[in-house]
Amino acid sequence: MIQPYARQLRACGLLVVIVLITQAQAQAQPGSRLWATGGVTTVEGSAGGGLVPWALLSGYASDTEWGGTLALSRAELDDFTLGFTGVSLNWRNRFELSAGRQTLDLDTLGAALGQDELRQDIYGLKVRLTGDVLYGRYGQWSLGLQHKRNREFAVPAAVGARHDTGTDAFLAGSKLFFAALMNRNVLANVTLRGTKANQGGLLGFGGDQGDDYEAMLEASLGIFLDRRWLAGVEYRQKPDNLGFAEEHDWYDLFLVWLPDRRLAVTAAWVNLGDIAGLSDQRGAYLSLQGSF
């Protein structure tokens, strides 16, 4: 009973911090990279869209600066609620470090399983290998790691997961095409991920139907309506290692509003497919990000 309440308090606290950051010192800008070139915070903490990490590094630090982000995200699905709270640091637009907690509230299944939620901690590292999303002829390329640790493993173990920790590795490429479509700038991203994670890791790693790393393709395409509005679509391919229920690929349609560098608000419609046997988990996603 106390648990969800404490989490709500923490979330409110973070919200207050985000608002404070965005209000503090109207003059102080978080960094010099152009608007939205840090993307927003994914549900796993790496900079990207909502579901797919991009080659962009978080926040706005350029080559002589450092910075970071705080983010709070929530997706209200038919039978689950997916949440993420996290922080990231960017050093000289070269390294991105992130840490956060992901939760899946078992709204419908909770009573049957005797557990309210699944939680995992995610630590991320991203390195910009080469290029620049705006000025690189071949865009920007980054290599990333996401180390995930389940905090509750009883449910994943019961459905056949092999490990309570796992590490995803990915290579991502992002490029902005100036004036590409009706004179609007278009942001394209492709990510190749090696992973064993079931439902991103919330249902553990590996399973009765496979315990090897598999290559998954993820992609997104967005268009800047102007420098404050980015609309787009994402796709994320997923493995299917657990015999008890089929796992589906993820999709979303998103709209990001950036009133200025310090704040990004992302709204999306997400489709996470079947989760743990409950079909067609769709819903609305909302994410707030403050940059410093």
Binding site: S32, R33, L34, S62, D63, T64, E65, N93, D132, L134, Y135, F177, F178, A179, A180, L181, M182, N183, R184, N185, V186, A188, V190, G210, E214, A215, M216, L217, E218, A219, S220, L221, L225, D226, R227, Y235, Q237, P239, D249, Y251
Partner: protein, 169 residues
Amino acid sequence: MSNLTILERPWPLLLLLTLATLGCQNHSPSPTETRATAEQNASAGAGLATADQSADLYDALGKRDGIERLVEDLMHFIVDDKRIAPQFKGLNVERFHSNLSDQICELAGGPCQYEGMAMTESHHGITETQFNALVEDLILAMEKNGIATGTQNRLLAKLAPLHPAIVDR
């Protein structure tokens, strides 16, 4: 295993295809772009409809006058920008204004010729941070001059290729 999955689900391939198409679009103006800019530029006469699209970028920027006003505002933003103002100390203001106006005018397809130094000669030790700062100031100056988003993007598309010659590596 995963290759099979990719074949079963054509979505990512479709996205990649779209991507490739966009890549090509970037190099040669598409009919859509030409149409869009013709619409945007209500003052364009019948003759301009067939002109190459960079010529109407010059018009959309307000011709030579508009470009000179833009560069003047840009210089004001630069002076107020702590990240880059020190670089411009002791600048020959008139020469910079006329050379940069010429350069933008020429890139936009206008009847001008840039006669200043090569970008590699006039820029030394410029960081990404400074480059980003200047582009930000340029965008703010374009906004101040009421230049439409599409026109801003087209000018940025012309300037982006100068990046390797300006930033130190």
